[in-house]
């Protein structure tokens, strides 16, 4: 009698030799894969925990300056070069792959207030407390040569910041007023001023290259158009902005680092209310730099930490701190989107990974596939309370932790008082003002 039953030949399922790969027949029928959601949840939980285990962002510390690092500039053509200016007038050029200083020059007597590279990468500019603007070559002098600037411009007032145009041979300095210079001339082609106080920083827009923004000491941010010789408009906030940075992907978005511990992302077309307020620092924010993707930015603060914020969220996704790192004055995000450099008060420049748990180097295809799968799992289950708790958890130094707790209590108390006041007064007498609009004093055209 012929009976038709399943009969398997083991040769079809077992490998022939030890050199072969194992055979793995698949059947994707969900009936054979029960508990899909709980198992994926456990995998997501493991992926989140491992991400925290592998989160070791600190890479190296560049030692060598003899005074606090005041400003930094990235080389536009080379990913492994970075320039830094210190408070004793020294400018050092570093090689990031060897993590050593390749060139030192005494640029100014006094602070190096600003440093910027030319868009072609062959030269850079520095401004200092000795009221000069110096133009240097990027390659060092030959053997036995002295460090001499290509060009020195003497000014009448102290310059506090410099930035170079992204396409043309034009640069802008700020101090008493914003001056726009041509590289060949020794006097500015035009001077822009609006307001009475000094201007602390100026930045050119990388996309709409004729636009500039500047931050002044009288709490305002002024936008200029280089093609006209008058400023465009300004927004007055309630506390001074230290510096601003344009989004390299969105032409009209810029983020400003403010003294009231917040960062404000503005759309330059609608300055009445910021697009987003980023609240997480507990002390004045000193510097901000965008990632080349335009989706995130990093901010350096007086509270000895640097934070990475997504553009569309009000809270930071990451905080980096070390016991040795004191007040962070300047921060930069490298052009390959992988590293963050921060220069601080204690004469060191630190190199961090932008993505703390990323594995550097070439990944094998299986590794990459596993990483992508874990990333997707984390994204899928990110809102579950246990996973959210683990993903959000960061160690903070005691000072920042206690200060943040205090600020939270103060904010909550203020809110409760306002609520009570509103409850016990005539309905409609105190309107709800959104948090965004609270910090803007005025917009002037």
């Amino acid at each position: 009698m012929r009976v038709k039953v399943l009969s398997r030949n083991p040769d079809d399922y077992i490998r022939e030799t030890k050199q072969d790969l194992q055979r793995v027949p698949r059947n994707y029928d969900p009936a054979l894969h029960p508990f899909e959601v709980p198992r994926e949840y456990m995998r997501a939980l493991n992926a989140t925990k491992l991400e925290r285990v592998f989160a070791k962002p600190f890479l190296a510390s560049l030692d060598g300056h003899r005074d606090g690092v005041n400003c930094m500039a990235k080389h536009p053509q080379s990913l492994s070069t970075v320039l830094s200016g210190a408070c004793d007038g020294e400018v050092k050029i570093w090689n990031l792959t060897k993590r050593e200083c390749i060139r030192t020059l005494q640029a100014h007597e006094g602070f190096v207030r600003g440093i910027c590279t030319r868009f072609c990468g062959t030269s850079f500019f520095t401004v200092g407390d000795d009221k000069t603007v110096k133009h240097w070559k990027m390659d060092g002098p030959g053997y036995g040569g002295e460090e001499e600037p290509l060009h020195t411009i003497l000014g009448k007032t102290v310059y506090t910041g410099i930035d170079h145009h992204w396409k043309e041979p034009v640069f802008a300095t700020c101090g008493h007023q914003v001056d726009i210079w041509d590289e060949q001339r020794t006097s500015p082609i035009c001077s822009l001023t609006w307001g009475v106080d000094s201007i602390s920083s100026v930045k050119f827009n990388p996309v709409e290259t004729y636009l500039l923004g500047s931050c002044a000491s009288d709490r305002n941010i002024v936008l200029y158009d280089m093609r006209q010789s008058t400023p465009l408009k300004k927004v007055i906030l309630d506390m001074r902005t230290n510096t601003l940075c344009w989004n390299p992907m969105e032409a009209f978005i810029f983020t400003s680092a403010n003294e009231d511990h917040n960062l404000y992302t503005f759309d330059m077309r609608f300055l009445e209310s910021p697009v987003m307020i980023h609240i997480d620092h507990v002390s004045a924010v000193l510097d901000v730099d965008y990632s080349p993707t335009g989706k995130e930015f990093v901010s350096a603060s007086f509270d000895k930490s640097i934070r990475i914020f997504p553009v569309d969220k009000g809270r930071s996704r990451e905080v980096y701190h070390t016991k040795r790192m004191q007040h962070v004055i300047t921060v930069k995000w490298t052009y390959d989107n992988k590293y963050i450099l921060c220069g601080s008060d204690e004469m060191n420049i630190r190199l961090w990974k932008a993505n703390a748990s990323e594995k550097l180097g070439v990944l094998v295809p299986r590794e990459r596939a596993a990483m992508n799968y874990n990333q997707k799992l984390k994204e899928k289950f990110q809102h579950h309370p246990q996973i959210k708790r683990i993903a959000r958890h960061r160690h903070l130094p005691k000072a920042i932790y206690s200060q943040a707790k205090e600020l939270r209590i103060m904010r909550e108390a203020r809110r409760r008082k306002e609520l009570n006041r509103r409850k016990h007064s005539k309905p409609g007498s105190s309107p709800f003002v959104s948090e965004k609009k609270k910090h803007i004093v005025a917009v002037v055209k």
Binding site: V5, R26, D29, R422
Partner: protein, 415 residues
């Protein structure tokens, strides 16, 4: 094929209990204490021991390296070489055991009415539940959601999860005691047989009976195959009952039934040994090697074990609906929203009041602004009224059904 067992040792009243591991290993246990483990396909013997005590139930643990034997007094865990690994004294009087593979939990039902869960990966007792249902001699497992089904002598089947001290569901299935419970691998059907000689099949999603069959001799043991065939052991006849697909008569009464995972084979333990029957169409033809690979090597087994332990589902997630984690918890969301509104004083998600846009060329005079505002306000009022009407009509439809069932008996005389 019938295996004449040299290990029977001439003990005719030695019923055998054959569980088959997901990986083609067979474990046989005799009531007098004889336990044997063998690779069923190559017929190579792994171990053969006598535990010198009455054996009530045996089961493989997560791999073919360990098995658990419920002996008369305590629960023992043995290696596949027959070496005793553990004696668990907290598990006394165990009658039935079920292993939940994805949770690494061993669920045991005792004669004193206790349901205990043991986590075999860490060796801790996860839960002890006093079921208050008397002697728990009938146990089944729903492989789709890891819920344990217990059959009781009052005809009820109760469903248990280790997190809850009360049964999740209590179903009245039979008019006498329940003799056997089996759930199919997709978790939709439950087959129960009782002392009233009936075999009933229930839909587990709605807890409704689907079919009911009367058998001349009630079925003492039930088992579902991977493809949905049901085997019932009625005395010494084994058959899938509702359409008499196959039937086989055994020399002695059957004591245990289990389908082999990826083969068309049914293993039956009876009074004079073990018999395996060919049942065409019972097994799943295409297995997934990353889940259950009957042809795996030792290295593959070790890798699989590590991955399975990493993915071990904690016992807190055992619920009636395994996909509940993937759904939005609307109740908590509502609650959190209420708390937020209370804390802030206003609703951050409420739509702001409509502000008509300021148009040029004289189109934004006071009258036209008012007209535009009124238009939007009227539209909103209309949608609100429509919604409230729908809500009113929905509960009106439901009460109409109830009165029909509860109509008093004398209503039939009303004109």
């Amino acid at each position: 094929m019938s295996l004449p067992g040299p290990w029977l040792g001439g003990s005719p009243a030695a019923p055998l209990i054959p569980p088959i591991s997901p990986h083609r290993h067979l474990l046989l246990g005799g009531q007098r204490g004889h336990v044997a483990a063998l690779d069923w396909q190559t017929k190579s013997l792994l171990c053969e021991i006598n535990v010198m005590e009455t054996v009530t139930d045996i089961t493989w643990l997560h791999t073919e390296t360990m098995f658990a034997v419920a002996q008369r007094r305590w629960l023992y865990v043995y290696d596949n070489q027959g070496v005793e690994l553990n004696c668990l004294k907290r598990f006394n009087g165990v009658l039935r055991m079920e292993f939940l593979p994805y949770h690494f939990l061993l669920a045991t039902a005792s004669e004193t009415g206790f349901l205990q869960y043991l986590d075999i990966s860490v060796g801790k007792e996860v839960a002890t539940i006093c079921t208050r249902g008397g002697r728990l001699g009938v146990m089944g497992q729903n492989p789709a959601n890891a819920i344990v089904h217990l059959g009781h002598s009052n005809g009820t089947v109760t469903l248990w999860s280790p997190n809850v001290k009360e049964p999740l569901v209590r179903m009245l299935c039979h008019q006498g005691g329940v003799r056997a419970v089996a759930v199919d691998s997709s978790g939709t059907y439950m087959a129960t047989s009782g002392l009233d000689r009936k075999l009933r099949v229930y839909d587990l999603r709605a807890y409704q009976p689907l079919q009911s069959l009367v058998l001349p001799v009630g079925a003492g043991h039930l088992s579902f195959s991977q493809r949905g065939l049901l085997a019932a052991a009625c005395g010494d006849v084994v058959q899938p009952p509702h359409k008499p697909y196959l039937s086989h008569t055994l020399p002695r009464a059957a004591h245990s039934l289990r389908f082999c995972p990826f083969e068309d084979v049914l293993g039956v333990g009876h009074g004079s040994g073990f018999t395996s029957l060919l049942v065409p169409g019972a097994g799943q033809a295409n297995f997934d090697a990353l889940e259950n690979n009957p042809f795996r090597s030792q290295k593959q087994r070790q890798e699989w074990e590590v991955k399975a332990l990493l993915e071990k589902i904690p016992s807190e997630l055992i619920t009636l609906d395994p996909g509940q984690l993937g759904r939005v918890d609307a109740i908590t969301m509502e609650q959190k929203h209420q708390e937020r509104v209370e804390r802030l004083g206003f609703d951050p998600q409420a739509k702001p009041a409509f502000q008509p846009r300021r148009k040029l060329k004289g189109r934004s005079s006071a009258g036209s602004l008012l007209r535009r505002k009124k238009k939007v306000a009227n539209e909103e009022q209309r949608t609100k009224i429509r919604k409230s009407l729908e809500q009113q009509q929905a509960p009106e439809r439901e009460p109409k059904a109830a009165p029909r069932a509860q109509r008093p008996a004398l209503d039939r005389f009303k004109k």
